[in-house]
Amino acid sequence: MSDSVIRIVSIYPSLLGTYGDGGNVLALSHRARMHGLTTEVAEISPGQAVPRHGDLYVLGGGEDTAQVAAADALRADRGLAQAISNGASLLAICAGYQLIGEEFPDATGTPSPGVGILDIRTDRLPKRAVGELLATPSPNAPAKLTEPLTGYENHAGATHLGPDALPLAQVESGVGNGDVSEGAISGRVVGTYLHGPCLARNPQLADLLLGWVLDRDLEPLVEREVEELRAERLDYVRRSGR
């Protein structure tokens, strides 16, 4: 990063923004402000070049047709892959998570090529996963992630991790990747099925991403509203399941 402004790039929010995904960008800016940091947000539309020099990229969820269109555009543009190999960070949610992998199913279930940034492959779950998702950070996840991850999932993807990707978390309640693991992490790339949006409900994850950009750990800061929501959701899921 340069000039102490964190450059956030929201990729194709018009295509990938079905489940309140804009909230993740808001949450990053909000947490950054709490830490005394400044952010600037670039929203990229399909057809526009993806900037190569962003610090933190965000991909949201979307419907099948939009997902294929986004994957095709990102492969042709190559900017995102280049930024990641230059050390930028990436958060990819749901359809965005699937499409940064090697392949994912299109609207008809046929495998469609992904962007190839994360070593995962996605096919179909036998039954759509819809409901609260609660997961505990994996032993291999960064040490800064200590609190349970909470959110909502709504997808039909079974995601299989290759040797170059590690699970982000272990499912306590819900489906996640479909094999008791949830999400994936590789270098500074995080993919997850948690929406809701994920960073507003999981400020530790927001701070982890911001910390990567700064190459340092951020002070743990808590907000009453967020802690009350987390406590309510954790209690709800542990009491009544999904």
């Binding site: 057809g47 047709t65 909502y152 507003a200």
Partner: protein
């Protein structure tokens, strides 16, 4: 007309079930009664429809209000059967058809997902398609999927006339399959669910009201009717030069003027007198409690139903300006959608400058959303209690706007009705 014996028996059983449900205090009993009827006579809808269904109305937002406007207009021809409560799935449709005079004209609101089934069974003269946007994604189809199902339905029903909103590209995609379409420029404020062409996935190009797809050439069709909205008042304008003043509509906002314009186009297809139709639409005040002023506990409220981002985007404009506080009640029961992620798609930033009282089962989700929108807020489980810690400005208002999701809205309405009884 003669109804099948099976249908007649089913109606009796259904009415009994409805009455039992009402006595037990479980609502109006339409759904329960309808379920019983359909169990006993699965083809009861077709039998009861019997060629008298003038119009079906479907949309993500505004279908209850539009149905009411249209039904009021249709009464110029005699009695009309229509659901007064927004019961719009097969169970509600069958109860509505069984309730009124057996040969009365029917104007029916239908849930988006149930429209193909109800169309096949009722063979309506006209179908009104208003808008499609994200709503209850945990249980409903994604938006493009619903449009594809409507396409299949219209290809299979070539005799029906469709009145469709040309400003919604997803609705246009669905309606273009019909043999007879009347296009209406009803407007579209929420465009996030029609950013890309539903056919080829290309980002749509928009220019003021026009839209087109550079991928497959699809574009906004030429309209027969348009809503002209100017300084808070609407006019329905036809291609032939007719202008109908909608400024006397009592239902507020641009979106209700749009609903009325679509309804006018249906009235024209049904051969109604259009001036008389508009006059009757202007008599509609509150629709199933929407915009009604009620007393709940210690508070006088205006009830606003706001259940998804598209609806919210339009509704913020009908609220009094800041700094007037508002109450927002968010639930996540099945009928609201279990997943309140959509709160992040609502432009709550536009409520800055006032205090929002966050209520409902998911008030904590709302509080986090408002925190991120820099909107001042207080979280109160029961803001209607006499000792509720309301901000002073809220106490000072004669009537406070209370926007609520579906089940929160109905809880408030029921509570107001109960408390109004001596």
């Amino acid at each position: 007309m003669s109804r099948k014996l099976r249908t007649r028996v089913a109606i009796r059983a259904g009415k009994l079930a409805s009455a039992t449900s009402r006595i037990a205090g479980k609502g109006e009993g339409m759904v329960v009664g309808g379920r019983v009827m359909l169990k006993l006579a699965p083809d009861a809808i077709a039998d009861l429809a019997n060629g008298r269904v003038a119009a079906l109305v479907s949309a993500t937002n505004g279908k209850t209000s539009t149905t009411r406007l249209l039904a009021n207009a249709a009464e110029q021809r005699g009695p009309v059967v229509t659901a007064a409560t927004g019961a719009n799935m097969t169970s509600g449709v069958v109860t509505t058809l069984a309730a009124g005079p057996p040969d009365a004209m029917a104007i029916l609101e239908v849930d988006e997902a149930y429209l193909p089934m109800v169309t096949a069974a009722t063979k309506p003269q006209v179908i009104l398609l208003g808008n499609l946007s994200r709503d209850q994604l945990d249980r409903m189809n994604e938006v493009a999927m619903t449009a594809r199902k409507w396409r299949t339905m219209l290809a299979a029903n070539p005799d029906v006339t469709v009145v469709a909103n040309a400003d919604d590209p997803i609705v246009t995609f669905a309606a273009e399959q019909a043999q007879h379409v009347v296009w209406v420029g009803g407007g579209q404020v929420w465009t996030a669910d029609s950013a890309v062409c539903p056919e080829c996935g290309t980002l749509l190009t928009r220019d003021d009201v026009q839209w087109h797809c550079t991928g497959c050439g699809r574009k906004r069709p030429e309209t027969t009717w348009e809503l002209r909205w100017d300084k808070g008042a609407g006019t329905a304008v036809s291609k032939s030069g007719l202008e109908l003043d909608l400024s006397a509509l009592q239902l507020p906002g641009r979106f209700n003027a749009s609903n009325a314009t679509l309804a006018v186009a249906v009235c024209e297809q049904l051969g109604f007198d259009l001036a008389e139709s508009v006059k009757r639409m202007c008599e509609v005040t509150a629709v199933s409690g929407r915009y009604a002023v009620v007393d709940v506990g210690a508070t006088r409220l205006r009830l606003l139903l706001a259940k998804n981002p598209a609806g919210w985007t339009e509704l913020i404009d009908v609220m009094p300006p800041a700094p007037a506080p508002v109450i927002v009640s968010i639930n996540s029961n099945a009928a609201d959608g279990r997943d309140p992620s959509w709160l992040w798609d609502v432009p709550f930033e536009r409520l800055r400058g006032r205090t929002v009282i966050a209520s409902g089962d998911r008030r904590r989700d709302l509080a986090v959303r408002l925190l991120h929108a820099d909107v001042d807020h207080v979280v109160i489980a029961d803001p209607y209690a006499p000792d509720a810690p309301l901000p002073e400005q809220a106490r000072a208002l004669d009537v406070i706007d209370n926007a609520a999701t579906y089940t929160a809205f109905h809880e408030l309405r029921t509570r107001a009705q109960r408390e109004a009884q001596p």
